[in-house]
Amino acid sequence: MDEIFGIPAPLLFGQLLLGLINGAFYALLSLGLAVIFGMLNVINFTHGAQFMMGAFVAWMLLNWAGLGYWWALLLAPVLVGLTGVLIERTMISRLYKLDHLYGLLLTFGVGLVIEGVFRNEFGSSGMPYRIPAELQGSWDLGFMFMPIYRGWVVVVAIVMCLATWLVIEKTKIGSYLRAATENPALVQAFGINVPRMMTLTYGAGVALAAFAGVLAAPIYSVNPQMGANLIIIVFAVVVIGGMGSILGSVVTGFALGVIEGLTKVFWPEASSTVIFVVMAIVLLTRPAGLFGRA
């Protein structure tokens, strides 16, 4: 059997693939963050809680309304996105004129409150959520057994990222959005309702987080802290990719998933640290991030 750095090649391929799958979650989450930051200039610290809400709404739909995974994939982002709209309208929108740190503190606080409420209601060890029947089982790839569900996650994440990118880069509404990011006053003068666009953008970013939450529910523990664990890494991804860069966050998300996956083979103890090492190196050499404009 061929070996690469003392690790059998098949095992390494498997790990690369798994890294890519984890990268899919990073990409989806950092995409939402990047969209929100690009448009609203708010660093959405509630993102982790909204990811968690997505998973919990999936659980609620199943247990309270009898609606399974596929419905959850559709409904949870909409429902959680609506709460995002509410938060933006009632709170975040009041802070645009103030220093950005206020937005950061507000979203951070809102995130803590949401997590606390869920912890009070559902406890800390979480809720069971099963893989949908259609996606159970695994493929034998020769070098590893690949659960079908993981393959599904990677495909859906790539499609979602591509769709978001297309909407922002290639459609009319996307062009309004980009224009409003550059110069909101001018865009407003052309008769476009910029505040409403900001609200919808925030809602869409939040919906992306909830979508990732539903995807995560069958494979990660559905508990109130699930977002808090992931979100710090995702922030590092956004910083490395360049704040607000859509393409940057997606590419970096997948790339860091792979780097983390490889670290789990060669030096597992450091696997949670490696992303921050990469971040430090990137900040030292390219302070605006890999894809950011200084």
């Binding site: 095992l11 660093i43 060890s125 069958p218 699930m226 710090i232 910083v239 704040m243 696997s271």
Partner: protein
Amino acid sequence: MSQIHRRGLLGAAAAAPLLGALPHRPARAQAANTIRIGLLSDFSGPFRDLNGPNSIAATRLAIQEFGNRGFNVEMVQADHQNRPDVGVNIARQWFDRDNVDMVLNLAASSVALAVSELARERNKVAIATSTATSDLTGRACNANTIHWVYDTYMLAKVSGLATVRAGGQNWFFITADYAFGHALERDTANFVRQAGGRVLGQVRHPFPGTTDFSSFIVQAQASRAQVIGLANAGADTINSIKQIGEFGVTRRGIRVASLLLFITDVHALGLQTAQGLVCANTFYWDLNDRTRRVAQRVLQLSGADMPVAMSHAGDYSATLHYLKTVADMGVAAAKASGRDVVARMKRMPTSDDAFGEGTIREDGRKMHPAYLCEVKSPAESRGRFDYYKVLQTVTPEEAFRPLSEGACPMVRT
């Protein structure tokens, strides 16, 4: 466009864990005739469910059942957030200012070790009911501390040995990379080797902050081990088991030894995913009429939709025995010296509905039987929280580490 300083963002991220709950402060009223019990535990973090509301209810139940025997009993509680510095600060305030006589629960080994040492300094009583490390009655033992419920040695021996005997010879460990995980892995590996098994490898995952275990699971499979030993706890264990199921590991004949699995974890996993797992417990609510009664009353008081775990039973049992001892020796003497209370607790046999009859050993180890349990399948489960069938009852002497092997300085051999 970006005007937010990264430093500010990262600083805020780093400060996140600091913004926890502040300790609950008791009223200043002090009376020489009042015994104060401080429940120090995790009320907001990953170990909340195996402590939290049910622990408060269990302690309260013991106080209620004990009744009024000529002195008042009060309970205070605080969240140590699983951080030794926070835990020690709260305990110090309780001991020095608030007249607390006994601290209870002490979830998270690191907190228990630190608070136990403080209890020795201040001559108070520390009873660990939700703590894993067997060092508490080993090298770190002291005359003011009692360790109730379970420890890493018992878990390793009862579930580790049983797995080897059932034919699981070759092991691969997935271990949380901190003191608790290392201790559990070490203790289990010893028993595996003693029983003629082999350890083929291990992987240490960062704690906290690991959510995806797929990479480790694939490594374990590649090692061709027959048993994957999970030396982690709480959400890590839940995530590991969930993903092991996803990768179809058990369908290919590989066993999973979840070395520390609480009934609250089974509740979170669901029987469909958890069925067939084997774990060690010292309390299961459905053992007999007495345990059912305790569990029912705890749930009545807490109103929580969470099964009563062995840690909750420990809070009940320890509080009851402590109060009986105080009544026996008198409040004044009990308040004067925690060491005397603990010495007396060791001389008195324990008896309660949760653990039955038992004793406390010289090194502070509370002795009671352990149970090897298997998680039922959804078809076998008949009602709410009906999760385990008991495969085997292990005597206290067999389950816990022999007195002579613990290296506790208080024990003269």
